[in-house]
C-alpha cells in the first residue's frame, strides 16, 4: 500500500505539473493564432492535433505493453532523465539570473506579430497549420511524459494519464475564461519541481531495468528526489556566484 502510494502520488503530480507547463505554452500560441487569424482555423488545428495525439496514445500504449518491461524502463528512463536534467539545468540558470525567465506575454506578442496580416475569409491555412503544429509538439511532449512516467510499472499509466488530462482541463478552462495568455503561472518554479521529479523517476527506472538493487527499495525514490533538489540548488548558488563575480569585474 505504501509502495503503491509512493509511486501513484508523485506520478500523478509530476504528469499534471509537466503537462500544465506544456499546455500553457500551446495555449499561448493558439490564443495568438485565434485572435490574429480567426478562431475557426485555430480551434480546428488544435482539435485535429489532439485527435492525432489521441490515436497515437491508443496505438503506442498497448504496443509498449508487448515490449519487455526492463527494456521499456531503461529506454524511457533514459529519455525521462535527459529531459529532466535539461529542464533542471535551465531552471537553475533562470533562477540564478544567468538566462532570462520565460515570458508568456512576450511569446503571445511575438506570435501575434509574426501572424499579423493576410487573414482572409473562410478557413485560414496559416492559422490551421500553426495551431496544429504547436498543439502537436507540446502534446507529443505530454504523451512522452505520460508514457515514461507510467512505464515503471504496469499500473502507473492511468495515474499519469489522469494527471495530464487534468492539466488539459485546467488550461482549456483558463483559456476559455481569460482569452489571453496565462502569465501568472510560475513556470520556472514548476519546471524546477518537475525537473527534480523527472530526474528521480528517470534514474530510478533506469536502475530498475538495469538490475540495480536500490537501498531501501522504492523508498530510495524519495532520496533521489531530495538528492536532485540539493544538487540543483547547489547549481543555482554556483551560477549566481559566477554571475555576480562577472558583474563586479565588469
Amino acid at each position: 500500500m505504501t509502495l503503491g502510494l509512493l509511486h501513484l502520488g508523485p506520478t500523478l503530480v509530476a504528469a499534471f505539473l509537466a503537462s500544465l507547463v506544456e499546455f500553457v505554452e500551446a495555449l499561448t500560441v493558439v490564443l495568438a493564432v485565434g485572435a490574429t487569424r480567426g478562431w475557426a482555423g485555430a480551434l480546428l488545428g488544435s482539435g485535429g492535433a489532439l485527435l492525432v495525439l489521441f490515436v497515437l496514445v491508443l496505438v503506442l500504449g498497448p504496443a509498449l505493453m508487448a515490449v519487455p518491461l526492463a527494456l521499456v524502463q531503461v529506454v524511457l528512463g533514459l529519455l525521462l532523465l535527459m529531459m529532466g536534467m535539461r529542464w533542471l539545468r535551465k531552471a537553475a540558470l533562470r533562477s540564478a539570473g544567468v538566462i532570462p525567465l520565460n515570458d508568456e506575454e512576450a511569446l503571445y506578442a511575438r506570435s501575434r506579430a509574426s501572424l499579423a496580416g493576410g487573414a482572409g475569409r473562410g478557413l485560414d491555412p496559416v492559422a490551421l497549420s500553426t495551431a496544429f503544429k504547436i498543439t502537436m509538439i507540446e502534446g507529443l511532449e505530454v504523451i512522452f511524459i505520460v508514457l515514461a512516467m507510467g512505464s515503471g510499472s504496469r499500473g502507473l499509466l492511468w495515474p499519469a494519464a489522469t494527471g495530464a488530462l487534468a492539466a488539459l482541463a485546467v488550461v482549456v478552462l483558463l483559456g476559455a475564461a481569460l482569452r489571453r495568455p496565462v502569465a501568472r503561472i510560475p513556470e520556472n518554479t514548476l519546471k524546477f519541481v518537475v525537473g527534480v521529479l523527472l530526474c528521480a523517476f528517470g534514474s530510478f527506472w533506469i536502475g530498475e531495468g538495469g538490475g540495480i538493487a536500490w537501498p531501501g527499495g522504492d523508498l530510495f525514490l524519495l532520496v533521489l528526489c531530495l538528492g536532485f533538489l540539493i544538487a540543483a540548488l547547489f547549481a543555482v548558488r554556483l551560477a549566481q556566484r559566477r554571475r555576480l563575480a562577472a558583474e563586479v569585474r565588469a
Binding site: M85, I206, A231, A239, R243
Partner: protein, 76 residues
C-alpha cells in the same frame, strides 16, 4: 503543399529532438553515465549497495558541471 508539409514535419522533428538535447556534451555525458552506472555496472557483480548511489552521484556532478559550463559559455 507537400513541401510545406515536409517543412512543418521537419520543424516538429527538430523541436521534439530539442526536448531531450540542447547541448550535445551535456546530453552525451548523461547518456554515457546512466548506461555505464545504471546498466553495465550492475552486471559486473559489484557490492549490492554501490550502483544506485553511484548512478545518482555521477548525475549530480554532471548537473552542477553542466550549469557551470553554461555560465562560462555565456561569459559569466
Amino acid at each position: 503543399m507537400s513541401g510545406h508539409l515536409v517543412a512543418i514535419l521537419r520543424g516538429m522533428g527538430a523541436e521534439v529532438w530539442s526536448v531531450f538535447v540542447d547541448d550535445g556534451l551535456f546530453a552525451g555525458a548523461i547518456l554515457s553515465w546512466a548506461l555505464l552506472a545504471g546498466v553495465v555496472l550492475p552486471q559486473c557483480s559489484p557490492p549490492r549497495w554501490l550502483p544506485g548511489p553511484l548512478l545518482f552521484a555521477g548525475l549530480a556532478v554532471i548537473l552542477v558541471a553542466g550549469a557551470w559550463r553554461a555560465c562560462r559559455k555565456r561569459g559569466f
